[in-house]
Structures are given as structure tokens and as C-alpha cells.
Subunit: 229 residues, 6 copies
Amino acid sequence: MTLNQLGVVKRNIVRADSAAVEKLSKFGVATIHEAMGRVGLMKPYMRPIYLGARICGTAVTILLQPSDNWMMHVAAEQLQPGDVAVAACTTDSFDGFFGDLLATSFQARGARGLIIDAGVRDVDELEKMGFPVFSRAIHAKGTIKATLGSVNIPVICAGTLVNPGDVVIADADGVVVVPAAMAREVADAAEKRESFEGEKRDKFAAGVLGLDMYKMREPLEKAGLKYID
Amino acid sequence: MTLNQLGVVKRNIVRADSAAVEKLSKFGVATIHEAMGRVGLMKPYMRPIYLGARICGTAVTILLQPSDNWMMHVAAEQLQPGDVAVAACTTDSFDGFFGDLLATSFQARGARGLIIDAGVRDVDELEKMGFPVFSRAIHAKGTIKATLGSVNIPVICAGTLVNPGDVVIADADGVVVVPAAMAREVADAAEKRESFEGEKRDKFAAGVLGLDMYKMREPLEKAGLKYID
Amino acid sequence: MTLNQLGVVKRNIVRADSAAVEKLSKFGVATIHEAMGRVGLMKPYMRPIYLGARICGTAVTILLQPSDNWMMHVAAEQLQPGDVAVAACTTDSFDGFFGDLLATSFQARGARGLIIDAGVRDVDELEKMGFPVFSRAIHAKGTIKATLGSVNIPVICAGTLVNPGDVVIADADGVVVVPAAMAREVADAAEKRESFEGEKRDKFAAGVLGLDMYKMREPLEKAGLKYID
Amino acid sequence: MTLNQLGVVKRNIVRADSAAVEKLSKFGVATIHEAMGRVGLMKPYMRPIYLGARICGTAVTILLQPSDNWMMHVAAEQLQPGDVAVAACTTDSFDGFFGDLLATSFQARGARGLIIDAGVRDVDELEKMGFPVFSRAIHAKGTIKATLGSVNIPVICAGTLVNPGDVVIADADGVVVVPAAMAREVADAAEKRESFEGEKRDKFAAGVLGLDMYKMREPLEKAGLKYID
Amino acid sequence: MTLNQLGVVKRNIVRADSAAVEKLSKFGVATIHEAMGRVGLMKPYMRPIYLGARICGTAVTILLQPSDNWMMHVAAEQLQPGDVAVAACTTDSFDGFFGDLLATSFQARGARGLIIDAGVRDVDELEKMGFPVFSRAIHAKGTIKATLGSVNIPVICAGTLVNPGDVVIADADGVVVVPAAMAREVADAAEKRESFEGEKRDKFAAGVLGLDMYKMREPLEKAGLKYID
Amino acid sequence: MTLNQLGVVKRNIVRADSAAVEKLSKFGVATIHEAMGRVGLMKPYMRPIYLGARICGTAVTILLQPSDNWMMHVAAEQLQPGDVAVAACTTDSFDGFFGDLLATSFQARGARGLIIDAGVRDVDELEKMGFPVFSRAIHAKGTIKATLGSVNIPVICAGTLVNPGDVVIADADGVVVVPAAMAREVADAAEKRESFEGEKRDKFAAGVLGLDMYKMREPLEKAGLKYID
């Protein structure tokens, strides 16, 4: 499977370890991105279509052709419970590739949501169904079914490489992709980071300054910071 | 009345049939756009100013000059119960042309909302009043009252031609314009489409795949789609 | 203190009169901007990170370097109850400079919120904490702590000059800056304006047209407006 | 022929009077737009693909589907010497719909250039051929030939209505559309305007101020302008 | 004179020392910006309207109202030989506020060019006249003359504060503003920097690496950089 | 080497076959992209900084941190004659990461140009030196040298995956990446495609229509296209 190869569907993909996915689902996107060493984020134009949308699952990737959602139906068959559909497009396209009918199908397959570097529609219905979507656009414009893309190949979605089986986590801060092979390690690192954050939060709440907690006063002085009255 | 003609107000316009408007109000923008043959949508940068905003009514069109809302007051007098004000501008302008005072006036005239290819302000008050607005910007910047535009001439709003009397429907998926003469036909087509969608939704919910429901397997194979393991 | 001077922290700033700040907190951004003579607004790309966010307080200004939030910690120490942190950046940068830990620290200092011409993260937590933020982006991307900016110097934030101590008011319509020396006068003018608006609103609600209330019919006719049937 | 109707080609269109087109070709876009009463301009994102590109001719309109240039070939047959192809798209699409092969075909038919609210490619070759194009994007991305649009129906191109046969003029300042029926009148008005401009230019060059030439000092004073030292 | 004050024209402004302006004119924008400590740049959306445009002179500032160029004529009278007109607008506006007639007037007054945070037109003529302009848009759209702005007050142009009399330098890399009081010092610093750059350029051309010239190998190793084969 | 790994420099990379690179250098970006099956293009916001810029060579990849060009100096040492520097950034950043000094160094190493998903400066000097650059921005803003990125790891540049050693071709139509292992095959396919284009061009020039050359009349009729008079 090469990046962006057209006309193929891979049926057997190696999904990230389900315990690791479960563990990752407890952390926010910012925490996981930090735990990975500050990589793996999609571009910030990816936004939830409704307030409170949140997703964590294993990626079934879709490469779409512009204004054509044929591959969405092909992808439906490859979805398993716990999966997240991750759709990229061969060029910038803002139409509504996905709506409540496809969401019903995806939900029936057990999918947990959709990440799409393009547009979607029927967003009120999607909210009512509780089917979370993160997209770059909302647009009622319909699409055709005429040209082949692919399913379960590596794709670049919103500036980030996604391999089928990777873990994708999305919340109000954005979308992050954890390679399947790193899922456990990242989940552990996120857990550790979160525990430290709890301590820090308590100190900040008690009025301790970051200047003191992180011992910044000396490096700031060395860097030349001047206080004046 | 020619497109973008300046300095005129047409008093008598032919509004779309009220029964058709009523019927159209039951369908979503995506459905109506499909029922029209996938035309009539405004650009996707038009967004509701509050969650849940929805409009359906007959267009009273307004051609504004940049950063000048004089014609809003002229338009108020032409509004009748069931109308939607549809405001275009002679050039890109993002100021707040409309706020709670004008909304009070429009609401007193029976208007159902505003579609404006520019900015608005007082959006919290507009939500409290229940006066729905779809705009391209929210901006507190005030406007002047110095230059003539027009009311009830054909205008191009967010990339779509709107004639006075056309039906305008707006929801979370965007804004669609149905020419007055087509209102009944489109309402019927939307109804038919919606009924088919109900059946499809049930099948999808039961786990039937689009691949089978739409008999896509053969055309996909002909197009050269390969399944690999 | 000169505009954009790097590497300095001013400790003693003159904050706007607290009674004037209190009075200004009762008015909306659009009203205050009008009361000042239609100046002082930030660019409309500044948006609240959650529904209902509202801020009014005195500015502690921060000049950030791109993708570097070191100065946020320096600023924390300068915050007093009633202050609003106002962060500009030496160049366009969309990363998440601020999250729930810094918000905990700022809140512990008594800060009322943050205005930032860049990105923030942990927005769900910020909402839960009730710490309002207006930003140009939401992005999980972390920042470094390596380069000096400044605190409490004049900065240009989202196209508007902000001096430390100025009053900053933010609501759903945007963000407005009132120079400290004008705070009382503007608060009075806003009050007067608001009282007039109440009268006007009642008239509009009763069906009086702006054409008549503002005596526009004659100037419109002079400008050449034609009514046709 | 209705706006945006799909699947039709109109063979006989009424082109603007050729003498008027010839006359209009002598004036710039800014002058013609002023002569029409400040209407008819396309959005400013339409830019020439090479320095010095200029077009004046009668419109053969094309409605494209996104990422699909099938209708370009259909349009080629309808082009006559002196025509300009004007291509709109049913949704935002930035691919390269047009390159040197189609340009060779269009040029062989006598077409004077292309205005396209989408992308083009082979721009170096187009410059060498002397085939001027104004577009919203340059992109090497190829398109398919799968879906019907239309030729010679009214279209909205870059925010402006274009009817087949209208005069389209493009230069470094942008693109303007003159309805066929107004071509003569606008050409005359442009000529008159240009002659006045010559006089004004001479006066300005001689040091006369606009303040005096246009007698602005009194109205400025009335408006309240204060001079201070 | 306060920032953005409306309705005033200041006649006597203190222009930067002419020798310093002359000296600054020899350096590029990037060099001057570095010599000032990396401040003073306008946003990168400001671009020359023709290839090779370059400006250096003292600012006469103009505050425009949207789509209204009345103040351009007021400003003409305040221009002296060696000045550069610097125009800001009270809100985002992309129309053509300036064309060849005003340029003729400005040129007759001895102005060296225009920096405008808005649009201009007649760009081919401006190039022929050799009147350089840096703007955020090119648009044929005409403007009105109805509302007061100001001349020679402090303005924020493309994100940067400009006081009347400041030195403004523009070239292919952008636009930089040097406060009048700092002009000499910055010119000297730029000269020194440029002389160092000559040496460095020779070394780079001879194949010396920056790694060695700037002694970066040790700090890179300390920072943890790993070389692998 | 994993995608976006920080803090590493790979010294030995496998460059694409030089004969294939040489052959690819004869074709345009649009032709090569078609020969690859319509994949491999960067986003269309990547533009040449001067007219006529063209690049073909093997990629040395650079992962930059925002507003930090330290890795540019590290990369210089890895450049060999025939290479093209391809710089990505861990987040959106528009500053001037590269100017004439670095270009002198890169040119001394034999590099053929730079592709950068960020900003550059000194563009006039770069043109004089004949050092071609394709970038997303031009900005005089300087950068720091404080944080580690990497050299010669896989990066995503302007939406496209680039591995070190891949062939990168850039011209007025954009930028395309050919994986090293496919270079020969793609060069051959481009050659074949170009030869067919010559024939087609001659036919188009002789007045043959695409409708006939590509036998489109029947499929268009089947698709339902109607001709009307």
C-alpha cells in the first residue's frame, strides 16, 4: 500500500491495541500531542460540527476524489466497531461528502465518528444521532459517485499522515493521530503527564507562580529581562 | 428591474405561493438543494449567528453599499409577514450593518429573519429575540447612512442570484434559494426525496450497505477497484 | 515604554478608574464602540472560545514571540484582581500559547480573562473553569519558553493599540479597547446611548419605521431614490 | 435558459454589437466600471496568469462541475472569433481545468482568452502562446470528464452575473462585465469619462489640488474637518 | 493627536532627519527590520503592485473610512517632496481608493509613493508613471467622498503603528516603519549590519558552513542533535 | 527515520537515479503529475518568488520549528550538487526563514533551489543570484536559532509526503514530488505523454475539436446533453 494509491481497498488492517485505544480515550488531544513529543496534530482548520463532539478510535482511511463520495460507501463495509473513518481528498474540496444516511450506515457498523478534510452536511441530524464529525467545512452541496479513490491506504489528512489502524483522537482542541505501534507508549506517557498536571494545577490554584514552580527567574534574568517601575 | 440597479425600490413584488413556502419550510437545505437538481446554494461562508437558527420565507432583496446600512431602513417598509430580508453588498464589506434595533423593526413588520452577505452585530440580543440571521461575519463596527442602494431588485448574495419573492431557506447546512416560479415543484420533489430517505435510513440502520442498496459493486469492479488482503 | 520594545516588564501601571470599569461592564461592545466615536475595535477574527464568554477589565499587556509562551508566566505575576491579560505576538502565530494550567494561575491572581491574537488550547476545561478567552485560533499545538518578549508595554493586538491599564471589553460582537483616560467619559456616553436605544426599541417594536423616526424620507428623495410599482 | 441549468448547450446567442466591443476594448476596466455606474465587477481574487494579460470580447459562458472539464470541450465548438470563454463552477474548485492543449483549440477557434472562477495550468505555455487567462488559482492538478454542465446559459462567475453575448473586459485591475444591450451606451460613457480624465490629469500634473478642482473645501468644512498646526 | 481621531488634519509635522532618510534608502527592508531589533514590519499581505517597486520616505498618514477616498484629496495638500503617503482604514476595505489621477497629484507634490492597507486601481498606469504602491489588494471598484477621516494622526497600518514623519521603507520583502526619532541610529545599525553581511557572504560563497562560522556545532550537540548514517 | 521525528540528521540518503532526474527536468509539473497518475502535487499556495523560477533535483528534507531556522544551517552541510532543499515546519509559520546569505551557502554546496512551506526574504537578491525558491509567503521577519528540528527525515510539505532523495520538480504550475524509486518509470511515462501531446496540439491548432478527437459526442449524448437554438 503506497501513499495515495488509487483504486484499492485493503481488507485486513492491523488496528492499534484496543486496551491502548481505551486508555488514550481518557486523555485530551493537547495532552496526547505533548506526550508524543509535539507531533501528530492535524491543521487547526479541522473543527467539530457540534459542541461537545469527541472521538477516539482506530482509523479506517478513505481517499476521496473531489466532490465525489463513492468511496464512502466502499469504506462502510470495512468499518468495524471502534473504528473512526478518516477521509482525505486528492485536492481541496469543500462539498458535503457525508450526511445522515451515511452516518446511519457507519453507526450501524459500529463506527465512532468521522474525520474529514472536506465538507459535510445534515449536521443537525448528525448531532441528534450522536455521530461526531470533525471537518473543514459544512456545506449542503451534494457529491457524485463516479471516480475511484481508495480505502485503507496511507493518506495525508489535514497535513498529517494517517495509516489504517492508527489511533485518532479528536476533541475541542483539534485532532491528533497516534501511530498504532506507539499507542501503548503514548497512552502511558499521557497518563504520566496528566498526573503531573494535577499537581501543577493545585499549586497554580494555590497562587504559586510558574516563575517559581518552573524556576524561570534565573534564566529570564540571564536572557536579559529587565523589570522597571 | 435589472441586476444591481442603484437607487430604486420596487413596491409590488410577486411572492412565491404561500402554501409552497409552508411546505418547503418542512425540509432541510440539503434536501431542497438536491430536489432542485443541486443548484441554488449560497457559498458555505454563510453561517447562522446562533445555534439552531432556521429561516424559511419569501425574499425582500436589499442591495447595500459598503459600510452603509441606509437601505435597511428603506427595506423595512417593504417587509410583509413571512418575508426574509436578503442583503447583498456592491463590494466585500464585513461591518455590522444590522443589530437589535433594526431587528426589532423587521420583527414588528413580520419578517422571519435576515440573510446578509456582510456582517451583523448585537448577536446575543438577536438570539434572545429569536430573530435568526445568517451572515458572513460578526463585527461590532457601525455603519453610515449616506449612499443609495436598492430594494427589491435582483441581487447576487453569497454567489447566488436572488429575485424578490423567491423562497429562501436557511439552516445549519447553509442557505438555498428557490425561484418563486419553481416553489411548488421543488416542494413536491423535496417531499418525495424525503420519503425515499426514510426508507433508506431504515435499511442503513438495519445494516444494509450502500454497496448493495445502490448496486454499486458491479460498477466499482468495472471501474477497476481492487480488493486486497 | 515604547511600542513593541522587547525584554522589559513594567511593574507599576496606571489602571483605569475602577468605577468606570464597573460601569463599562454593563454595556455591550457595539454600544461602547459607538460611544467612543466608532474606534477601538479589534479585527473581527477575534472570537470567544465558548458560548456566552464575556470580559471587562483592565489590560495587562503581553508581547509574545511566535510559538513561545514564556512571557505568559512573567505576566502572571503582574496580574491583579480585575485585570485582563491582552497578548499580542511579534508575528502571526496560531499555536496554543495558553491552556488550563496557565488559566488556573491567572484565575488565582484574580484575572478576568484573556484576549490573545494567537491560539489557545484546553478550551473545554477553560469553559468549565469559567475563564473566558477571545482568540484568533484554537490549536492543541504546544509552545516553547526560549525568547524574551515583554509585559506591560504598548502593543498592537488584532489591529488595535492597547496600553497597559486600558479597559478591554469583549462579548459576542467582538473586542473593544477604551483608553484608560477616557474610561469615565466613554462609560457616560455609553449609558446615554443605551437609554436612547431603549426608546427607539419601543418605537420600532410598536411598528414605527426608521424612515420616519430618523426623518430619512426627504434625504432619500434628495439623493434620488425612486419608488416604482 | 435559466441560471445554472444543467445539461444544455445553446448554439445561437446574441453577441454584443461588434463596434461597441471594439470601442470598449480601448478603455480600462476601472473606467468601464465607473461608466456603468460602478457595477459589473468580478471579485478581486480574479487575477491575470501573466503580466500584461488583457482581454476584451463577447462571452461564451460555461458552467463546469467541480474538478471536471468536460464542458470545456463542448464550449470549444461554440466559440467564434472575438469570443471570450467565461467559466463558472457549481461549487468552489481550484484544480487546473484548462491548459495549453485546450488553449490551442480555443485559439484556433478565434477565442481571445478565458475568464475562469477556478484554476488553470500550463501558464508558462499560455503566456508563450499569447492566450490571456484570468483565474482564481494556478494549479497543476488534472480534472476528469464525467459530469454534465452547460454552455451558453447565464452563470455567476466570481460574484457577477454573465449572460452569453455580454462583453467581458479584463486587465490588471480586474474583470468587468457589460450586458450586451448596454455595450454601446457604456462605450460612449467610457469615452466621455476618459476625455474628462485627460483634462483632470493635466491639472493634477500642473499642481492643482483635488480640493480645489472638485471644490471640496467647503463641504469638508461643513462636515467638520479641523486643521491644526 | 490621538490614535484614530477622526476629522482632523495636522499641518505641521516633524519629519525624520533627511540625511537619515537618505541613508536608510540604501538598505533593504529585511536589514532595517533586523537593525531595529526585529520590530516595525507591516503584515506580509502588503505587496508591491508592480515588479521592482521600492519606496523610502517620510510618512504623511491618512485615516480613511471604508470605501471612501475623500481624505486622499485632503492629504495631497499636506504632501511635501520626499514624503510617502501611508493610508490606513477604520475597517477592512478592499476597494480601489487610489488610481492614476490621484497618483498624478501626489507625484506633482513630490510624493515618493503610497502604502495603503486597502485596494488600489489603474495599476498599469501607476507602473508607467513610476509611482510605486504597496497595497493589500488590487480592485477596480470605485469609492465615494462622503465621510471624514483624518490626515497626519497616528494610525495603525497593516498591524504597525505609523506616526506622521516616521520613515517608511518598502521593497519586495515588505514594508518597515522606523520612528522618526530612531532614524539615524537605525540607519547606522543597518550600515554596520550590512558590512558584516558582506564578509559573511564571501565566506559562505567560499564554502564555509554556517555551522562553523557561527560555531553552532557545540550548542546543537548540547541541544541533543543526533547524526545517524 | 520516522515521519516528523525531532533532533536527528541522516547523513546517508539514497538519492533518485541521476539520469532519471535529468530526464524529469525536461518536463513540466503538470505533465509529471499526470504521468504519476495524478498524485504527488503540493498545495497550490506554493508559488515561485520570481518569474521564471524552475527547479528539478533530489530532496534534502528539513523539518523546521516555527520562526526558527537553525536547521537550515544543519541542512547546508548535507546538501550535495543537484539537491533541492525541501523545508516543512511543525506548525504554520510565515516568517522569513531564508535569505541571501543562506542561499549563498546552499548555492556554494551545489543546491538547485529551495521549496519551503513557510516564508522567505531577500527575494530580489535571490532572483539576482538565480537561486529559485518556491514558498507560501514572502516576509522580512527574521527567525531565531533555538530549537531542534531534523534533516533528512520524511516530512509533509504543503500537504505532500517528501522522503529524502525523492525528486522534486517545481515550475509556474506548482510543485510535484516523485518518489525516488519511481523516478525512471515516471520520467518514461512523462516522455510518452508529452509525445502524445505534440500530436494533439497540432490537431487542435488545425481546428480539430476535442469533441471529435476524443470521441466525446456519443458519451455526451448518452449523459443527456441537449443542444438548443
